[in-house]
């Protein structure tokens, strides 16, 4: 029970990560941003035990951290 009450406030906070609005980026800059963002999303979801859900060849799939890809 002692552990239960020892969560610091900081542990509940998330942080923004936008240094420049993608809406104001030039095409090349936006491409780089999208690539970085895709990598971030992938790493984030896998780190919290969730799969990445996306369209693959017209079907919705879930890709897991261990490499499995399942139709959903």
């Amino acid at each position: 029970m002692a552990d239960q009450v020892n969560i610091s406030d900081e542990a509940f906070l998330k942080k923004g990560r936008m240094k420049k609005s993608p809406f104001e980026m030039k095409a090349e800059e936006l491409k780089t941003w999208e690539k970085k963002e895709k990598a971030y999303v992938r790493n984030y979801l896998f780190s919290v035990g969730q799969p990445l859900v996306y369209l693959k060849e017209g079907s919705m799939v879930a890709e897991y951290a261990d490499g499995r890809i399942e139709l959903i």
């Binding site: 509940f12 998330k14 240094k19 993608p22 809406f23 996306y54």
Partner: protein, 198 residues
């Protein structure tokens, strides 16, 4: 004066995953679902109630400090806007900047929410998702008076989130891409072009 960013959109749209990408660097974001999930992981049986209390406490802390900060809120029910109103009333000079994540494909929300629950996180029923999805745009228009700016982020299953429109109430400035998704083109665009008060 503080800028308060509301990361909005129906369950499963990707607010928690991608919301940080459109919030200024290092700004605090408060996510009630994430707070409740953290209590759940730490063994609290009443994690939802205690999570809500903690969320409210942290929002108050930021308001009293006068900091800019972000919160995640579906904005799918009137009660969510009532909460936003209470934040706005704390200091009328504060701005409410809504960043709306939305999609033409509700199925994407269903699938992501289902998978999220299977992975041990919070459950939102398809009925609730559908209700919030259908409520989102009508409620946004009804409550538009509370909002200082709107950023619309289009979500598709294949691509990264894309900012497709920005509207600033001050000066009635509307910026958008040429090819808008249906949810904006069919409804919200006209509303914003008429100044957001039709």
């Amino acid at each position: 004066m503080a800028n308060i960013y509301i990361i909005a959109g129906p369950p499963g749209i990707g607010k928690s995953t991608s919301g940080g990408a459109v919030i200024p660097n290092d700004l605090t974001i408060l996510d009630p679902d994430q707070i409740a999930d953290r209590y759940k992981k730490n063994g609290f049986a009443d994690y939802k109630d205690i999570g809500n209390l903690k969320f409210n406490e942290l929002v108050k802390r930021e308001l009293f400090k006068g900091n800019d900060f972000g919160i995640e809120l579906n904005l799918g029910y009137q009660s969510h806007y009532d909460f936003v109103k209470s934040i706005k009333n704390f200091n009328k000079d504060n701005t409410i900047d809504v960043i709306l994540f939305f999609t033409d494909d509700i199925n994407l929300c269903f699938k992501r929410a289902e998978i999220r629950h299977q992975s041990g996180l919070h459950l939102v029923s398809p009925t609730t998702i559908k209700e919030m999805y259908q409520n989102t745009l009508p409620l946004l228009k009804t409550n538009f008076l509370q909002i200082s700016s709107l950023t619309a982020v289009n979500i598709t299953a294949g691509d990264s989130p894309k900012i497709v429109l920005q509207y600033y109430k001050k000066g009635r400035r509307l910026l958008m891409i040429k090819e808008l998704p249906e949810w904006l083109a069919n409804d919200l665009k006209g509303f914003l072009e008429s100044g957001g008060d039709d």
